[in-house]
């Protein structure tokens, strides 16, 4: 027998629902890196780093 007070019945019902949900969670969404996006960023960053310096007029 529960020792919880009768006036907390609503809270108890709500907690029961929450407990049941917490005990049966669905599988979390996977968090993947988008390979194409990463590759694009890598290429842009690489191109920026490897490009020759901007030509400047000779004095």
């Amino acid at each position: 027998m529960s020792t919880l007070k009768p006036e907390t019945g609503d809270l108890q019902k709500s907690l029961e629902t929450e407990v049941e949900a917490a005990l049966n969670p669905g599988e979390a969404e996977g968090f993947y890196r988008d390979t194409r996006e990463c590759l694009g960023l890598l290429l842009v960053a690489g191109a920026a780093l490897l490009s020759p310096p901007t030509p400047r007029p000779k004095k």
């Binding site: 407990v19 005990l23 969670p25 996977g30």
Partner: protein, 253 residues
């Protein structure tokens, strides 16, 4: 009033702390009366038998206040008629932990095949709640390796060595699928699902044996360290990962 997930995380954090300290003090701080006390009991029900994990792994008697709260959680949140198998097994594990730790409970372990919630089948009441039989484990063998990993991670509190707790039907049912679980561990890490990865890692730490070896190529120790580093901010992840590391280190062997 706090929410349930916050209370569960707070409780998991306490368990991790006691687990790392050697299990010599109470896990749960008394909340007195009122909504916080009820929330505390609900959090104990969600965390399940893991509330007593420090005592189980370090082989110390649990604090009477911890036992009392676990008893209260078992009584207050029994599995209903339409409860899922995870809820039933979680409840079973709590009752089993109480039976091991509570000197007042002299009843034998439930071994009959009656479902939880049916009439008691030979066990005596533990702390006032009826003792039913074991829920079914046949469903485990029907799951794909992805589903198996998810379900076992949800039931992470049942991942304790039989040498410490006695035979466990879920451990026995999971043991032949160590390779599937190893694949699931890798999948969870790649998906960055740290809670599932930590739960799967804990199961692998329990199941690794000569008969059902975890592939050496998995690098479980390194994997657990990585999971702890990446997801350890979540106390539930830290709990499973620390438990797995303790098991790998032979603390509960």
């Amino acid at each position: 009033m706090r929410n349930l997930s916050g209370a569960v995380c707070d409780l998991a954090s306490e368990v991790v702390s006691v687990l790392r300290d050697g299990g010599h003090r109470a896990v749960v701080s008394p909340n007195g009366q009122g909504p916080d006390a009820e929330l505390g009991v609900a959090a104990v029900r969600v965390l399940g038998a893991d509330v007593l994990l420090p005592s189980t792994l370090h082989r110390h008697p649990p604090a009477p206040s911890d036992l009392q709260l676990v008893r209260e959680a078992v009584r207050t949140f029994p599995p209903g008629g339409d409860a899922s198998v995870s809820t039933e097994w979680s409840h079973w594990a709590m009752r089993d932990a109480l039976r091991r730790h509570d000197p007042a409970a002299a009843a034998p372990r439930p071994v009959a095949a009656e479902p939880v919630g049916a009439e008691p089948v030979g066990g005596e009441p533990v702390g006032g709640e009826p003792v039913g039989g074991e829920p079914d484990t046949a469903w485990l063998s029907r799951l794909t390796w992805q589903e198996l990993t998810h379900q076992l991670a949800v039931l992470g509190a049942l991942a304790v060595p039989p040498a410490v707790t006695g035979p466990s039907p879920v451990v026995a049912a999971a043991a032949p699928r160590t390779l599937d679980l190893a694949r699931g561990f890798v999948r969870a890490v790649r998906r960055r699902d740290w809670l599932q990865a930590a739960g799967a890692g804990r199961w692998l730490a329990v199941l690794d044996s000569d008969a059902t070896p975890v592939p050496a190529t998995l690098g479980l120790e390194t994997g657990l360290e990585f999971v702890l580093r990446m997801g350890g901010a979540d106390p539930r992840v830290a709990l499973h990962a620390h438990a797995a590391q303790l098991l790998r280190a032979g603390a509960a062997g």
